[in-house]
Amino acid sequence: MMRSLLALALALCALCAHAVPSDAVFAKLAEDDSDSRIEAINALAADGSEQSIKVLDALADGTLYVTAEGALVILTDTEAIDPRTGQSVTYPESSDQIYLNNRLRGVLQGALAASRVKSPDREVRLAAANELRENASEDMLPLIESALATEKDKAVRNALRLAAARIDIASTDSGRRRKAAENLGESADASVKFMLAGLLKKADDGHFVEADEAVRTAAQDSIDRIDRRLAMADVANTLFSGISLGSILLLAALGLAITYGVMGVINMAHGELLMVGAYATYVVQGLFRAYLPDHQDLYVLAAVPVAFFTAAVVGMVMERTVIRWLYGRTLETLLATWGLSLILIQAARVIFGPQNQEVSNPAWMSGGVEVFANVILPWNRIVIIAFAAFVLLLVWLMMQKTRLGMFVRAVTQNRAMAGCVGVPTARIDTLAFGIGAGIAGLGGCALSQVANVGPAMGQGYIVDSFMVVVLGGVGQLAGAVTAGLGLGLMTKFLEGWSGAVVAKILVLVFIIIFIQKRPQGLFAVKGRFVED
């Protein structure tokens, strides 16, 4: 029954001349012309046979080739299959893949969606329904309705209802139109809103485009509902992107909050420690690709400790060889770490080359989750926000809950005296700097998931990192958190309103003004010793 309905639906399609794919259809598919190919795709979809769908799938997957002789063939690494028969054939000497352009891809996706809307797999059905929600054509209405009749899943039903409503809104039956206008109120799509708004317009002759008052009221009602949803989505999106940006700023800054905030080392090479972490991630990814291709998606998990330790080692070496000699001479550290940063950048360039390296999100960090209509939160950002919280907890535990933290603070406040109560200052310094550098490495690992991995990547974060640490109040973890999130949110709200460049300028001006009010940062340490 279903099969016949589908066939019926697609048979209405004007382009579908044949119900059974003939050799001519395949010949059209092999032709290097979009129009012919579309014709062929539609023909195959109308046919709807298993074999036809397989061909369409091959086309979508990019495994459909044209041999030098102009014959079609589905190629896998080892096998060549004749699409008409599904039989193995000899592997062709040379062949060209059939590349899709966006137009073909759109048609193909619609066709495949229609064929999948009754799949037993719920995910497949949902994806197909969503596809139809946007791309359904009038002829698919019977198909959609029949699918609705049997569909149990709520999400799929919703999508199908919307798809049907979009078609129904043009129906001649005013009852259907009203129902459709009501149903469309469930949408969060601005384009639906525009469609509905069309109903409320007056034509040139002064009459409403939509004659039926009830339909108009329903449309207006739905528009209001969509508007509310859109406005809410807007705020939610901005909020999320602000928090996300804030978490990135924070991750970039946390390492600095230790090396500079707590230890007082003006570490201009901080950005390069981020870079080390990012490259470490890149290398781990490469190793996974080479040696554990089956577990590729887990590379990020392995990269986290590797990034930490690589950066920590680099940091400790820096501390032992250079920074160690400069304690108490804060400004010389500026110069020396600037030099170190140049060296590290060039080293990266020599080792990995000057280009950016590709670090891909593992599958579980790709794409996004639609929390509600029109609010898609990308997974990589969600993971990073959580990761930032995790790193923050780590730093907080280390600084506040271990003796190491207390020792580090004591050493920075009074190195000589710390030695005189028995703190091995040199070892503490190395360790603390190493940890700070390691935290920076973690930051780099996270950044690799959203931004560039290249030799100069660190330079882009150094200014922001210092702003976050200083705005929060040097040495104040809570301050850094507030500053990071605050700057993130502020940037995003301003950006929506004024564009990125002006937003950035405004944020900087805000920082300048804010420091006037709080010359020691957000979480200034008060007390009589501050002035001395």
Binding site: G527, R528, E531, D532
Partner: protein, 274 residues
């Protein structure tokens, strides 16, 4: 104590009438150089000064003692503008409202201070430290075109003599020993020629002999200058010979001659010990 209350009323009267309280000439018509009235200061809920009232007469040499944490240094912070009181009035002479002025203005008006922990300009020589403190116009332009005249040189030399650092005149102040820094700071105060000197533990870290000399110095300054000296060294306080005020928990516990105060059981309890 009664006198203080009386004087305080006089002050409120003068301000109540919308008197212009700008930094200006020091008005000593009531022979009182410093009024503190009901000063309170708290830090995160802790009351360091609690309704403190105190008056210092012109030319007086007053010793202030009291337990650690009684609020002595905080009181000096209030007088010199480092700390703003939460409540209360602080007047220099009849007209100068200290709570409305910043540190340089107060210094300019004639209040000089020696800190509990000696603070000198460590990278300047001893001579330069004294020269910087010298009483003169301290504006930018004057400094730009300033020339050290012979007279000024003599003044510095005299002070160097007095603080026994003539030999160290060209040494960096940061290289001095603790006691030497104490002296240098006293010297800077002398160069400033303030009308009111606030001295926070000036003899800490000095030998007994130096302590005596310091006492002599202060006594000789009294009369022309007014001095407020905070110390824990009873021998020194005795040598100063003036009135003694005992602070405790942010307000005045006792006041009078040293001998009386020393026998006050409350003072013995909280401060002197048995």
């Amino acid at each position: 104590m009664n006198a203080a209350v009386h004087d305080n009323q006089a002050v409120s009267g003068s301000t109540g009438g919308g008197h212009l309280v700008q930094p200006g000439e020091l008005d000593l018509t009531h022979k009182v150089i410093l009024y503190l009235e009901n000063i309170s200061v708290s830090f995160d809920g802790f009351r360091a000064l609690n309704d403190l009232s105190l008056t210092i007469d012109a030319g007086e040499l007053r010793a202030i003692i009291g337990p650690n944490g009684a609020g002595k240094t905080t009181m000096m912070d209030v007088i010199t503008g480092k700390t703003r009181p939460d409540a209360g009035k602080a007047f220099f002479g009849q007209t100068i409202d200290l709570t409305r002025m910043n540190e340089p203005q107060i210094a300019h008006a004639g209040i000089g201070r020696k800190f509990q922990k000696p603070t000198v300009f460590e990278n300047h020589t001893v001579f330069e430290n004294l020269e910087l403190a010298m009483k003169m116009n301290k504006g930018v332009f004057t400094s730009l075109f300033f020339q050290l005249g012979d007279e000024a040189r003599d003044r510095v030399a005299a002070v160097l003599q007095r603080i026994r650092l003539t030999d160290a005149a060209d040494r960096q102040a940061g290289l001095l020993s603790h006691g030497q820094k104490q002296w240098l700071e006293i010297g800077m105060l002398l160069m400033q020629e303030p009308k009111l000197l606030l001295l926070d533990e000036p003899v800490a870290g000095m030998t007994d002999e130096e302590t005596e000399r310091t006492a002599e110095l202060f006594v000789s300054l009294a009369g022309k200058h007014s001095l407020v000296v905070v110390e824990h060294d009873m021998a020194f306080v005795e040598a100063l010979g003036g009135q003694v005020t005992v602070l405790h928990e942010g307000s005045v516990l006792a006041e009078g001659e040293l001998a009386d105060v020393q026998n006050d059981p409350r003072v013995i309890e909280v401060y002197l010990g048995r």
